[in-house]
Amino acid sequence: MNERQYMKKQRLISVAAVIALAAGSAVAVAPASNAAAKTVTIAYQGPLTGEEAQVGIDELNGVKYAVKLFNAKNKGKFNVRIVEIDDQGSGTEAAKVAPGAASNKKILGIVGPAYSGATIASLPFYKQTNLPLISPSATRVSITDPAQGLIGFPVFHRIPVTDRVQGPALYKLATRGVSSPKVFVIDDQSPYGVGLVEYMKLGGATLAGQDSVPDKTTDWSATISKVKSASANVVIFTGYYAQAATLFRQLRDSGYTGVLAGGDGVLSPGILTLASASILEGVRLTGGTVPLAEISAKLEADFKAKMGVSSGTYAAESIDAANIFLSCISKGVNTRAAMLKCVKAYKGKSITGSALSFDKYGDTAGGVMNGFEIKGGAIKYTGAVK
């Protein structure tokens, strides 16, 4: 091998190393802190970078909080580690990272995936390797609906109620207190957004108008003209918060003064950084989640003290999901098969105080949809939507 070939080879090796490092960064392992104890690994999957990153980071913090408490309580016995799987909330990314997580035999269970599209893209790999999932936020009905072909069975479970409940609840919340409501619904053409509108209609919603808009839309003038043509006084957007911010801003700028509402895709503190408080004032939102501060102020204070940040959306659900895996770990579960059996048989309590268990297809028994309102630049809990 001459010098030039040698250099070339070295360069190839370094390029390969960089690629390997980059690939590895998607699945980063937290360092071990307690070598003597039995090390067990669980994972979190959700958007940790990308437009929806806030949702994933908030959920991951919930999982970390639960694990921190567990490790402290079981010092010397167990040391639980968390593998972070970043799917950016997209099905395409999820299909790239899921095979790696599926083949990592150390992972006994995944809290997540956060989003339904990413869940469906990941499921073939997890079903093949019998890897149990408990999602804190994937609410699409089809994943657990036996009539739509057992997409998630048997590995998938979830804490929140589905869009079958959220659709009608969102309509109810948006029209609450509005005399002769004329509702205009806009979806973002995502399966989540379109599905939410379908379940809204199935729940008996009457709509004055509807539009279906690509999820990269920034100019809403045509949609706004339709809203005005329909003389709507309630506008519901079933997409995600980044787009909701631009839509709500342009609607208010156009002189629209009616109600603005959105589902759990919009329920993220991220929206507060994209539009001013005056534009977002009064926006009504639904979500299967309950803020930790509403469960108890002490819990929120403890969370903040331990994690260094306030809890975010789906913190309670993420803690619940992690706690189910952790309770199984404390019973000595150390294989995926045993973990799946244990999760399916789980009967315990949510940190909200209500009973928590799963039906045959992985849906949570019971559960309610909650309402929120943006007031003075903050998202406030307004109670369950009944």
């Binding site: 690509p214 043509s229 631009t246």
Partner: protein, 316 residues
């Protein structure tokens, strides 16, 4: 019902025009470079995106606006907007020259085939977008409101909102200035000469590298202005904002006839209006379908776009 329809139609026209002018300015970035080098600078969409960030940096970091700030008024507002426009144009102009130096000049001087700069352009586009993605954690970046979006009155039932009016008027001024620049100045004449016949222009003593850099600069300045108008109108940006707008502006350039300044103008305006009307009358989901059916239809009869592809025809 009819008057309601007329009101909406007029409002849609104003909205479509202001969107159209943003397309015009980005399309000019594509068309100037194509006119001179017969090369599509795919990284122009990212040149636009960096312009939007420059505007937000001035608003947020230089003037300290937050989402809670009161919008500026009077002379201070004019001053801020002017600085934003300059910052955005400079950022995009300089980035454009840099792109030409780094990614295209060597290929051109070495006499590479036509595909190499094309791939180089796509590569630079990805590099620039990914760099911004890392810097911003892939998140949308909101711009605080710097200008109250006041209504200046109505015109045939359409509300004339200040931001739309500024975009239409300033866009028109910029376009006319560019036309005059290409028509009358020494560099403009050199650009046209190279566009007509590169070899003959060189033999006449035109400094090709200087002309090419000048072309990238002028195209970048126009694209940067579009970045400022975009933030003024939509008040946000993100690392991937250039892709959709870039494709739209590129389509506008093709529709009018790429390489032709007049073509970029009419193509951009037509596309802005077409998108807006199609979204309203057929549903937003039909917007892209309608635009591309019209494009294919136009190209069927005018394969080089409505106005052909000569940078020499500048007058709108």
């Amino acid at each position: 019902m009819l008057s309601n329809f007329q009101d909406q139609f007029a409002s849609l026209t104003v909205g479509g025009l202001s969107l159209g002018f943003i397309y015009v300015l980005i399309a000019l970035g594509y068309t100037m470079v194509y006119g001179v080098l017969r090369m599509i600078n795919f990284a122009n969409s990212e040149v636009f995106m960096y312009g939007t960030f420059a505007t937000i940096i001035v608003i947020r970091d230089l003037f300290g606006f937050t989402q809670q700030s009161e919008p500026a008024t009077g002379f201070r507002l004019v001053y801020i907007l002017f600085l934003c426009l300059i910052a955005s144009m400079l950022m995009s102009g300089i980035l454009s020259i840099f792109l030409e130096l780094v990614a295209y000049r060597r290929l051109r001087n070495r006499g590479s085939n036509k595909l190499a700069p094309l791939i180089s352009a796509i590569g630079m586009s990805i590099v620039l977008a990914e760099f911004m993605r890392i810097l911003t954690d892939s998140r949308y970046v909101g711009s605080p409101r710097v200008m109250e979006k006041k209504s200046l009155g109505t015109f045939f039932g359409a509300e004339l909102r200040l931001d739309n009016v500024i975009i239409i008027v300033a866009g028109l001024i910029l376009f006319v200035s560019l036309s005059q620049f290409v028509q009358r100045t020494r560099l403009g004449k050199a650009i046209r000469a190279v566009s007509m016949n590169e070899d003959a222009a060189k033999l006449m003593g035109v400094n090709l590298n200087f002309v090419v850099s000048g072309t990238f600069l002028v195209g970048g300045l126009m694209t940067g202005a579009a970045g400022f108008f975009y933030v003024l109108k939509y008040e946000n940006t993100s690392f991937n904002i250039g892709f959709e707008l870039g494709i739209a502006a590129f389509t506008a350039a093709i529709l009018g006839g790429i390489g032709n300044i007049k073509g970029a103008f009419y193509g951009g305006i037509a596309l802005g209006l077409l998108e807006t009307y199609a979204s309203f009358f057929l549903g937003t989901q039909w917007k892209a379908v309608t635009v591309f059916i019209v494009l294919v239809f136009v190209l069927y009869f005018r394969p080089n776009g409505v106005f052909g592809e000569a940078i020499t025809q500048t007058r709108a």
